[in-house]
Chain length 234, copies 4
């Protein structure tokens, strides 16, 4: 049964990885999706640097909760350690996605949080999507991928943001990570993040004095779709 | 016969909804199209939060003219109440479309009306496409979707704009609504609105002193295609 | 034999019209291509307001050199009179294309000529692509399409531009016209014009002090591809 | 055996050329890829001005190391002389790609080097992608393609850049050249260059005081993927 559960995780992680180039969020071999099953004690993640067109579900890499590979086969994504820290810090999430999607990267490179300029943003992210501080030389040299996870955790802790309400982040000079309860939702959050990043960029160009939407509108749109009073969807 | 008419409405509304992702105007499950038949006393609208790839014509939701669901089945789009107000206020229109199309959203988020900078705009919209004021906290909390319809109506009344001459609006901090005599035309108006929103954005970047086209050119292009002296088309 | 020649013109004009949406230069029913055979005394042009997916080669409209329709059938494009003036003024050209392609329209709306910022521009257009002055109210009201042709002719005459060396123009507040010896080349010129219009727009955003390329580079690229010393191509 | 090696080079060069329009890096007949086999003493390059849809692998042109054509058939790309100089100067490279890809051209037209604003850049280019100086009138008139190669060589020499660490350049007022050990990698470098050119352009628009990433992050990302301590990929 454990074997069957892992086979299904690999299938979901594989499909979610393929969804990234399909949604034009990644080029070449960039980007990776993982899923965790805490009870089972496993994480499944994309192998490192493998072409999307040649990859199979079987190639997905299975590790324990510390990121140690459990099966012979391919090497996991070099960003695995970041995913592991996110799973250890955000206990409610079930999947992590990392891309270099164009518009989210622009904000990450600019080192700015993404303001909530409209309801498209508010439907998925309950407030600004934060941008981390820059990693120090020591952090980069001594444990780059682990420290990337830690600086995300630090950012959410310091700003007191609930990672379920704001399921994504911009890593300074690098790019976005998003998450969700399972791979499909985590990928959808990456799609939304890139779309609202593009919208926000040009919103500022149309009106350089634009302000974020008021909290009552943010509340309305977010809680139309989330929580016990949600009335969006079937 | 009523049954047959409703079946055809569902088919048209279904096709018009599918046209939105095809024209890259919506992502995921965003966006919705409705049609009204005032004699029959029915509105047909997209169900809420259903994937475009899984939706069938049969899933379209049938309501009365107040938006009360008439058939068992799916829940209607959460924006239905806005459509109902638009149908009650703009008596000549037969279909309403709502999207979060990228460029129209940028202007809505920027809180600016879309100026008529050229003939591409004038062929469909007879003058600037207005942007509503921001809804108040009370309006959002007590009847968000109804009040969204009312603020559109208020905007057209205050600016004395004919909704047939300007078949679309930007809702502040939210996005566009367009309309037309039937679903296909209403969707076309959404396509044009997003295209001219993109053109206007970069027109200002090429020339930050650009002015709207003169009224005589606006008249010429609009009346080439509309009204009794139209000479465009077959 | 005249019949056969016209049949082939219709086929070429039809194919060239279809190339416009394929190259993402037109939406809906916007845009039109025509071809002239001066010996035969005929112009063939797209019918007005007909969907690209339903149009057939047979639907192309045949007129004489003044634009009077010669065959029963569809009405010609409402821009025909502009094409006629261009053929009467620019005696060496064999085909005219009009689109509302996005980036060329932005420059036309901004009322600015398109500067030659690089060799991509110079390979096709030997210097800046001019923008006409705005038409007067009288011109628009008394003969809009004819006057559009005349203001293009006036622009080329006043600036002493050779229409074969600069096979395109921006009509103020409206959009681009391009031309060429035959339909395929005229369409290619529209493709290039929109591409260089986009490049120029962002070139200015990267460097707001950018200058056009020097004349010797303009000469080199243009004459690599054109004239008796051309050495590009087979 | 020499014949078989050349046949395989033609096949690789053909496939790499087709990859350019597929990745939306070229329009019409723009762009060209070549490969060198120094032992064999041959260069294989795209023919000049031939349509991508009609081109076959057999049409690829074979020359010696000075660019003299060795087989009867088509004329080589007019940019061949630039490729030859690059092969003579950068002895470790095995393939050269030239495109007029949109975003790289914008920076080349703006005459600015492309700063390393993020890790997407650093994964492929170890520092800023340089922009050459403008060619003089004499250089353009007396040997344009050769001098284009020489000014690239001059740029890398003066800035002391290793062409393997920064496998691409912007030629002032013209566009990008990239290279790599073999055609596929050289094409991938063109894809990355255009992507990071777009990202950098809008990064500056989001934050007009943005600085390049610190050297320690540049080092980390570049050496994750390159050199003897690389740990990205299988």
């Amino acid at each position: 049964m454990k074997h069957e559960k892992i086979r299904k995780m690999k299938e979901r992680v594989y499909i979610a990885n393929l969804a990234l180039p399909k949604a034009s969020l990644v080029k070449l071999t960039w980007g990776n999706v993982s899923e965790i099953d805490r009870e089972l004690g496993v994480i499944v993640i994309k192998p490192s640097g493998v072409s999307y067109s040649k990859m199979t579900a079987e190639d997905m890499v299975v590790t324990d909760l510390t990121g140690a590979v459990l099966e012979e086969g391919m090497k996991p994504s070099s960003d695995l350690a970041t995913h592991v820290i996110l799973y250890q810090t955000f206990l409610e999430i079930g999947s992590v996605v990392h891309t270099h999607s164009k518009y989210a990267v622009m904000w990450a490179q600019a080192g700015r949080e993404l303001p909530a300029y409209g309801t498209t943003h508010a439907d998925t992210f309950y407030g600004a999507v934060p941008c981390t501080r820059q990693l120090t030389a020591t952090e980069v040299e001594e444990g780059y991928e682990v420290e990337t996870g830690r600086v995300i955790a630090e950012t959410f802790a310091e700003l007191a943001i609930d990672p379920q309400a704001v399921p994504g982040v911009l890593v300074y000079g690098h790019g976005p990570f998003t998450w969700g309860p399972e791979p499909q939702k985590a990928v959808e959050n990456s799609i939304v993040l890139d779309e609202i990043a593009e919208m926000a960029l040009q919103t500022e160009s149309i009106n350089d004095k634009v302000k974020p939407i008021p909290n009552y509108l943010l509340d309305k749109h977010y809680f139309r779709k989330h929580g016990k009073n949600a009335y969006y969807g079937q």
